[in-house]
């Protein structure tokens, strides 16, 4: 997967990874790898600033917990607003994807009411 393409959708990818439930940064990266069939290998260092930015925007909340190892760990969870944002981005993505499919397949893109 092209890195630039991935970067443009980082917010949606991170929100989608957290839709399964609260997780820390490392788990988010692993979840993205797992759910994308190892195709999305996110640049690790860029995921944390994204988590921080989404939290600042009110789409995530975070709290410290103590892991089994004894280290302090930051856990992130979607807020209600984050869930709505993800639903909105999913809808836009589906429309975009359908249009591109139509274009590449030579068929007419499906009209949507959006």
């Amino acid at each position: 997967m092209e890195g630039e393409m991935l970067k443009g959708h980082l917010d949606m990818i991170v929100l989608a990874a957290l839709a399964a439930g609260p997780a820390h940064g490392y788990a988010v990266i692993e979840e993205v790898k797992r759910r994308s069939g190892q195709r999305f290998d996110l640049p690790e260092g860029t995921v944390y600033p994204v988590l921080h930015r989404l939290e600042q925007a009110g789409l995530l909340v975070s709290r410290w917990v103590t892991a089994e190892s004894g280290r302090r760990r930051r856990i992130y969870a979607l807020t209600k607003r984050g869930g709505s944002e993800l639903a909105g981005q999913r809808e836009v993505w589906e429309q975009f994807s359908a249009a591109i499919d139509g274009l590449l397949g030579g068929a007419r893109p499906r009209r949507t009411s959006a």
Binding site: H24, G45, R53, A57
Partner: protein
């Protein structure tokens, strides 16, 4: 090795101590987790690889700084509007108190009082308009990933509007202080002085808070620009 890497990342964020502390702990935990999951090589190699995969600490610090700056500017924008509302409440309380106690202005100082009152109202209205415009400037839209020229321009506009709002507010508070001195002069000190004095203290505290916040956000903006430059 991991601690040194996390420390160097945190050092780039030294202008925001709580962010630096949080980032250091979080990144250190991540790298330790990666090393623990890497059973293929010796620990030193695993640490080296984990750090290399994580990226340039200065680039990551810049991304954190941009994200943090976005949240801080929104908070400062909202704080300025709330503080202006606080100053208005203090002013309204004092004027109501003067009406209730029928605390008249001395005839000799009335013309000066009227002039100061006009300047006060104009300065306060200017502060309200500039403060609201500043808030609107940063209140909408998500913080961008990069510190691009358009975001930098937006921040400069925000800082200018905040500075104008602070200027108006300070001028208004100075006029209020002079008006309070005019109103209280010639009267013997009593408990009734407490309301005007306390409301003035509140106004001065509010104006100082705005100035401190603006200085802080200007410093953060400069540090973030230096990190991304």
């Amino acid at each position: 090795m991991i601690s040194a890497y996390a420390e160097s990342l945190a050092a780039s964020l030294s202008f925001d101590r709580s962010l630096a502390r949080r980032v250091r702990q979080e990144i250190e935990d991540h790298l330790q987790e990666v090393v623990a999951a890497d059973a293929t090589s010796d620990p030193l190699d695993a640490q080296r690889r984990a750090i290399a995969n994580f990226g340039d600490p200065r680039v990551i610090a810049a991304q954190f700084a941009i994200a943090s700056l976005g949240g801080q500017t929104r908070k400062v924008g909202a704080t300025i509007v709330l503080v202006i509302a606080g100053v208005f409440l203090a002013m309204a309380t004092r004027l109501t108190w003067y009406d209730l106690t029928q605390w008249a202005v001395c005839e000799a100082t009335r013309p000066l009082g009227e002039t100061l009152g006009l300047i006060d109202r104009a300065a306060f209205c200017f502060a309200v308009l500039s403060g609201c415009a500043g808030w609107a400037c940063v209140g909408r839209g998500r913080t961008p990933i990069a510190f691009d020229p358009s975001y930098h321009r937006r921040l400069r506009r925000f800082l200018l509007l905040c500075t104008l709002a602070a200027g108006g507010l300070v001028a208004s508070v100075v006029c209020d202080a002079l008006l309070t001195v005019l109103r209280l002069s010639g009267w013997e000190f009593s408990v009734a002085f407490l309301v005007p004095l306390l409301s003035m203290a509140l106004e001065i505290a509010c104006a100082s808070l705005v100035v401190i916040h603006i200085r802080d956000i200007a410093r953060r903006t400069a540090s973030t620009a230096a990190l991304t430059g």
